[in-house]
């Protein structure tokens, strides 16, 4: 199990090179761009990136500027997995026909939670099922932030957004967050992992692994969003830690079907510690029943995860 002594990724091995230039237009304390920068440090220069429409695209590519030091293409909102599939298919056939030099290039698709779990789910499912050799990264900030904090299917229960507002009759988002990890796992792809920029070494290890595995890999990055979640921009990393420490966002991987919890938590903190600092949950603070349901769900998921990991 995860208590076994495992190799720790040494900080000094982290690439000093930046692949995402500063000067972009992300908000102060943006957890998404923090994850993105670390992920590209792990991936290095030999990548081609396809991006969905969304915050990361908008903050990085206002013509004639770009933050991208690696080849990058944006086409539309819902099709990034298909574009990446084309890049992969193109590279494969061109290298086979000796029209491009043989060289390992990691193909990366990136999207927000909307571009992954809602409008982009079909293209993603198709690309995973067909087995393209690529990494799909979901930058999950739990709402459509680029268009002004509308709910997505990855917005957690109770969170207030502009289309799941807290009101007299409704306590924010009325349904549970969709389980993208399970959806990815149902495609039997070789590598699936959750990551958080609050745990940079864990993130780098997993992304490196994803890059070296043949076939589709799915990386789900929790991306704290200060304006969308209603926290101070200095709290990003702390909140990302709380998400893990409370069990709300466990860090784990599924490698060829084997589960492994990569950051163990001896005793989960109460979920209130995570919910309380965020304005999007302010209206549910006194709804003890709802908090109890959330707590139970988190606890159960965590137990199940550990059991799966123990079986592996």
């Amino acid at each position: 199990m995860e208590t076994k002594k495992k190799k720790v990724f040494p900080v000094r091995k982290l690439d000093a090179e930046e692949y995402f230039a500063p000067g972009h237009r992300a908000c102060e304390g943006c957890g998404e761009v923090l994850a993105l920068r670390l992920i590209h440090k792990a991936l290095g220069p030999n990548v081609i990136v396809a991006s969905a429409t969304g915050c990361m695209e908008i903050i990085s590519s206002p013509f004639p500027y770009t933050s991208w030091e690696v080849p990058w293409i944006h086409v539309a909102f819902e099709n990034t997995a298909a574009v990446a599939g084309g890049i992969e298919a193109g590279l494969k056939v061109l290298q086979r026909k000796a029209k491009r030099e043989k060289k390992k290039i990691v193909v990366v698709a990136m999207a927000g939670d909307g571009g992954t779990a809602d409008i982009g789910l079909q293209a993603l499912s198709g690309a995973m099922e067909r087995g393209h050799d690529f990494i799909f990264i979901c930058y999950d900030n739990e709402a459509y932030m680029n268009t002004g904090v509308q709910r997505s299917s990855l917005t957690p229960l109770g969170a207030s957004t502009t289309t799941s507002p807290a009101g007299a009759c409704q306590h924010g988002q009325t349904v549970w967050k969709k389980n993208m990890m399970a959806i990815a796992a149902a495609h039997y792809i070789p590598y699936i992992a959750t990551v958080s920029p609050s745990y940079p070494m864990d993130l780098v290890e997993k992304v490196t692994k994803a890059a070296n595995i043949k076939g589709p890999a799915y990386i789900h990055a929790l991306s704290v969003c200060p304006p969308g979640w209603g926290i101070s921009s200095s709290e990003t990393v702390k909140l990302g830690r709380l998400a893990v420490e409370t069990g709300v966002f466990p860090l784990y991987e599924i490698e060829k079907g084997k589960y492994r919890v990569t950051v163990n938590v001896e005793k989960l903190k109460p979920v209130e510690a995570y919910l309380q600092p965020q304005a999007r949950f302010r209206h549910i603070q006194s709804d003890l029943d709802l908090i109890a349901r959330i707590s139970y769900r988190v606890q159960t998921y965590w137990e199940r995860l550990k059991a799966k990991a123990a079986r592996a």
């Binding site: 220069p45 030999n46 990548v47 081609i48 396809a50 991006s51 695209e57 908008i58 590519s61 206002p62 013509f63 004639p64 500027y65 770009t66 991208w68 030091e69 690696v70 080849p71 990058w72 293409i73 944006h74 086409v75 539309a76 819902e78 099709n79 997995a81 298909a82 574009v83 990446a84 599939g85 084309g86 890049i87 992969e88 298919a89 193109g90 590279l91 494969k92 056939v93 061109l94 086979r96 026909k97 029209k99 491009r100 060289k103 290039i105 079909q122 293209a123 499912s125 198709g126 099922e129 067909r130």
Partner: protein
């Protein structure tokens, strides 16, 4: 004697794609396009074509995937019809904007509803303003030839735009026709391999698909239109070179019996052959009828068109799509009327919406249209042969 082989036009189209040594094919099945992709996937399975055939989960992904493959430098092909084109519509606009030379065959079929799998031009009219070069083929040989021609145009460094080859669903796609196949060596000479200057490559990183603010969007659109207009001489050149190679010569506007004609039919696509037969018979009866066929739809060959209609008094424009609630008639007639409006001695324009959703258009139909136009009975536009 030239070497013609009888084959279904869809298979001839697939054969042309194979001869073009296409690297990536991504498509989703829809009637009447299916035979093309089925044949291509078989070629790949049999090792007769070294390509990646990607059986995507939708047309939206088909074109998106071609964007990805084209952006890394792979010669990419897709084909669709009707609902498939409607589903990929969002992405259709992006290909010219990204200046990627993708070729798409459109087996023209009506757009639902009601659902109909049969032929008309409502699908292609829905992408009129997307910025693609758009060509119409009249028979199987033209479909075959234009696959090579389309890549030749699209990949020209001075063009770098995608091309749609329109071929009428069923009427062409499922027809058995004698096709003169061009040999591999001749195709290789005509169409060298695609060597793009800007691709996604880690050694020379570029950003593709950046967005613009209002300060630059208009200029970006102007640049796109200029690129489309500037493609015209290279289209002519591609046709000329093909003519030198195979002896079949194509023009943006094809004519038949236009000399001395007072009344000209204007058609696009396969009904041109039927219209031609009607014109021949009308001439036999001493009528001054003629025919002008638009092969090139975008960029619109206005000067060629004006030259070819000469001083005809009447144009009978056949539209294969309706523009409901518009100021008068189908999309083609609307454009021709607008183009003629400021000209002196402009001809009268009659407009028949014909052959919607597979409705037959016969030699007799053209004769009827001719009589009602010449006698002055027709006016504005009418849906030919409609009941009720």
């Amino acid at each position: 004697m030239r070497n013609h082989q009888g084959m279904e036009v869809s298979f001839a189209a697939a054969e042309a794609v194979r001869l073009c040594n296409v690297d990536v094919v991504a498509a989703y099945p829809i009637t009447p396009q299916t035979h093309i992709v089925e044949r291509l996937s078989k070629y790949v399975a049999d090792g007769k074509m070294d390509a990646e055939f990607v059986p995507v989960e939708s047309e939206h992904s088909a074109l998106s995937l071609c964007i990805g493959s084209s952006a890394v430098g792979a010669r990419s092909f897709t084909c669709t019809s009707s609902q498939g084109l409607a589903l990929m519509n969002e992405i259709v606009y992006l290909v010219p904007a990204l200046r990627l030379p993708i070729v798409m065959i459109l087996a023209n079929r009506s757009l639902s509803g009601p659902l109909s799998i049969w032929n008309d031009h409502s699908d292609v009219m829905s992408v009129r303003d997307t910025g693609w070069i758009q060509l119409f083929a009249e028979n199987g040989q033209e479909v075959f030839d234009h696959v090579m021609i389309a890549y030749k145009i699209a990949e020209n460094e001075n063009v770098l735009l995608p091309v749609i080859i329109n071929m009428d669903g069923f009427i062409l796609s499922h027809m058995f026709e004698p096709i003169e196949l061009t040999g591999q060596e001749a195709v290789n000479t005509y169409l060298p391999s695609y060597r793009p200057r800007f691709i996604l490559h880690p050694d020379r990183p570029v950003t593709m698909g950046a967005y613009t603010m209002p300060t630059l969007f208009t200029e970006a659109k102007k640049a796109q239109e200029e690129a489309l207009l500037a493609s015209y001489p290279y289209i002519l050149q591609a046709w000329k070179d093909w003519g030198t190679l195979c002896g079949r010569v194509y023009h943006p506007v094809e004519t038949y019996y236009t000399e001395g004609a007072e009344t000209l039919f204007v058609t696009m696509g396969s009904i041109g052959e039927t219209a031609g037969e009607a014109v021949r018979l009308l001439r036999e009866q001493g009528q001054k009828a003629g025919l002008v066929k638009l092969r090139l739809w975008r960029p619109f060959p206005l000067e060629d068109f004006l030259r070819e209609i000469g001083s005809a008094q009447r144009l009978i424009v056949i539209d294969r799509a309706l523009s409901p609630g518009g100021p008068g008639g189908g999309p083609v007639a609307g454009e021709i009327r607008a183009a003629l409006y400021n000209r002196e001695n402009r001809p009268q324009v009659f407009n028949f919406i014909a052959g919607l959703g597979g409705r037959e258009v016969t030699v007799g139909s053209f004769q009827e249209m001719f009589v009602s136009s010449v006698s002055g009975k027709a006016s504005g536009y009418q849906i030919f042969g409609v009941r009720g």
